[in-house]
Structures are given as C-alpha cells and as structure tokens.
C-alpha cells in the first residue's frame, strides 16, 4: 500500500512539471467537465463525441461494423507501408518482388496475406455496414450528408481494392485490369479518354502499373483519411448514432 501511495505521489509530482503541463494543459481528467475538455482539446479525439448514449454502444446497435471497417483500414495502412519496403512498381520487378515477399522475406508471407485478407474483409465490412445503416434507416435526416460521405467511402474502398489488384502483376491481375478498364471505356464520350489517363497509354504496361501504384498508395488512402475524418465528425455533429428504442 505504501508503494501505491508513493507512486501516486510521484505521478502527481510529474503532472505538476512544466513539461507535462505543456503537453496536457488541463490537468487530470477526473470530472465529467475535465473529461469533456480533454476530448475537446485533443487532436486525435476531437472528432469523436464527448458523450454517447449507452444504447448506441451496445453490440446490436451497430455490430461495430463501422469500427471494424476503420480498424481494417488501419491494419491495411500499416501492412501496406511495410510491403512498400520490398515492392518496386516496375514491370520486371513487381511480380518477382511479390514472390520474394512470399518465399524469401522474413514474415513477408504473413504481411502480404494479412494485407490481402484485410482488404477482402474491409470490402465485406464496408458493404455490411452500408446495408446495416440502410435497413436501420440511418440515412434519414439529420444523417443524409453522412450517408453521402459513406457512399464516397464505399467507392474509395472499392477503388483501393481494384488498384491493389494489379500490383502483384500476375495473370489474374493483368486480365482483371484488362476487363475493368475496358468496362470504363464503355462510358459514353469520356470512357476512352478516362481509360487512357488511367493506364497512361493504350495497353496495360509500365505506365499503368505505376499509376495504379500511386493511386493505391498515395491518392486513394489520402482521400479515405479525409472522408473517414469527415464521417466520424459528422456522427457527432448530427447528434450521435441512430438508435432504435427496441434494442434492449
């Protein structure tokens, strides 16, 4: 017991130091008011609501599908960045690098499979999230705009999945992108120019691989981060989740 008191005392002293106070300005968050202020004043937490209804935290209210999607996005970001250390987006290298990751690099096969499986799981989770929100009426006022942001996130998720599909540069990837980009070229008037811009040419070659890589690793993840931040922020601004009273 004496040690606990001693630790508490030391901690309290630490909290009084100038360095600590410069990081956590408001002191310990012990009361409802200081807790709220701590959430408000924190860059990472301020997109979250300060208070939520207990009911909206129950499993049956959301099945945590949005959180699961976000968690998978975090997993994909971390594993994706690690995969980038070994992968060259170049025609002679890409396929070999993928094979090296599987057979040569320590734990490479774990990271690659985690990235693949998490990507597939994220598509499933995002769709499931969308259906769940739809059937619960979560798109109704005042949540209409957040529904629109969610549709944007669904699109970004699908484009991320699609652009990532080319990167192993195997037969499956090549023909999937052949079919996919030919579907794009059926868009009236703009179809062929869009396909040309996307591939950086008429065929799926070095330019296409590099473009898909940049989209997959930079542009689409940035778009996802911005949309996710807006999505979370709007939950709070729209007054919390839609919760039905019959979930007990």
């Amino acid at each position: 017991m004496a040690t606990t008191a001693w630790t508490h005392q030391r901690l309290e002293q630490l909290r009084q130091t100038r360095v600590w106070r410069s990081i956590f300005r408001r002191g310990p968050a012990r009361t409802n008011r200081t807790l709220s202020l701590a959430v408000f004043g924190n860059l990472g937490l301020h997109v979250l609501p300060v208070k939520v209804r207990e009911k909206s935290l129950s499993v049956r209210a959301t099945y945590y599908l949005g959180s699961i999607s976000f968690f998978l996005f975090v997993v994909l970001t971390i594993t994706g960045i690690l995969l980038m250390f070994y992968y060259h987006p170049a025609v002679p290298d890409a396929y070999r690098d993928m094979k090296d990751l599987v057979y040569v690099v320590s734990n490479g096969v774990f990271l690659r499979n985690l990235h693949r499986l998490a990507a597939q799981a994220m598509v499933v989770a995002v769709f499931w999230h969308m259906f769940h929100v739809f059937y619960r009426g979560g798109y109704k006022p005042p949540h209409e705009f957040n529904w629109v942001i969610g549709v944007g996130l669904l699109m970004v998720t699908l484009f991320l999945s699609y652009t990532g599909y080319l990167l192993p540069w195997d037969q499956l990837a090549f023909w999937a992108i052949t079919v996919g980009t030919n579907i794009i070229s059926y868009v009236p008037v703009l179809g062929r120019p869009i396909r040309f811009l996307l591939l950086g040419g008429h065929i799926i070659g070095q330019n296409a691989l590099l473009r898909f890589y940049v989209l997959h690793c930079v542009i689409l993840p940035l778009a996802a981060v911005v949309l996710i931040a807006m999505h979370f922020w709007r939950i709070q601004k729209d007054g919390g989740l839609t919760v039905r009273d019959d979930h007990e």
């Binding site: 023909w175 052949t178 950086g200 008429h202 070095q206 330019n207």
Partner: protein
C-alpha cells in the same frame, strides 16, 4: 444593411457595389480561372505524349507460310492471319466485349473467348455470347519483297480481302 451608418466613400443606392464587393468578385473570378487552369494543365500532364508501346505495324512473313483454309494465331501481335480460297485477312484476337484474348478452336471452326464465352466466326462475325461487335479486320498488304505488312491502327471492312 438598414441601420448601418454609411461608411465614408460608401456608394448609395440599392444595388450599389462597394469596393469590398468589387475586389471579392475579382479575387473569386481569378481563383476560379486559376483553379480551372490548374485542372486542365494537370490532365494534360497526366496524358503522356510519348508512349513506349509495341509498334502497331508488323511484318507477318510470306503468304506462303499460311496454308489455304487456315487460321494462324500470332501470339506476339494478338492477331489471326486467316487464309481461305478467296484470299487472306488479318483479324484482331482481342475480344470486343472486354478485351480478353480469344482462341481459335479448329474442332468447332470458331474463335472463342475464355472470359465470358463469346464466339466468333473466322470472318470475325459474332456467333454467340456478349460481344457487341465483330472482331475488327486490320489493314494488310504486301510489302515490296512480298512480305505481309499488317497495320493494327487501321481497321478495314470485312469485305476487304487480300487476294494472293
């Protein structure tokens, strides 16, 4: 605004334009033009001017390499060279549905696509499946030394046949 004291130099009247309004419009217009310009320039930048793609014109050997009543697939070019008793033509092997590479099936006398089951006659005509258009014929001629020259950029009518 009603009740607001007139600032010195502020023009009177209902539709009067203040200096601030004027500069706001100018700045907004300039930003819009700059934004549109940036978008156009970026799209231009993203469209390559020089492509390192395989040449679209190629030599396909002598007509004697192709027996009468045969369909020969040239893998590097993704083109069929068809020869009948009437003459020869070059046929694209790329499915007009979604771009898969078709295969010549001598047993059924058809060109078949493995992706979605389209089937074509050796003239390129669609016989089954989702393909919306026949396989295009490419311009083919004889070079000076009697070698077949195929130009994949020039699509010709089905009726254009090289008499050999």
């Amino acid at each position: 605004m009603p009740g607001e004291p007139n600032a010195p130099g502020k023009p009177e009247g209902k539709n009067a334009v203040t200096r601030r309004d004027f500069f706001n419009e100018i700045a907004g217009g300039a930003l819009t033009i700059a934004g549109l310009g940036a978008a156009v320039v970026t799209v231009k930048y993203a469209s390559p001017n020089v492509l390192f793609e395989p040449p679209t014109t190629f030599l396909a050997g002598s007509p004697d390499d192709y027996p009468v009543n045969s369909v020969t697939y040239l893998q590097d070019q993704q083109v069929y060279i068809v020869r009948t008793d009437k003459g020869m033509w070059a046929l694209s092997a790329v499915c007009t549905h979604l771009g898969c590479i078709t295969q010549w099936k001598p047993e059924s006398d058809q060109i078949a696509c493995p992706c979605h089951g389209s089937k074509f006659a050796r003239t390129g005509k669609v016989e089954a499946g989702p393909a919306p258009r026949p396989l295009p014929h490419f311009a083919m001629g004889l070079g000076e030394d009697g070698v077949l020259v195929v130009d994949k950029l020039e699509v010709v009518k089905q009726t254009v046949i090289l008499k050999v």
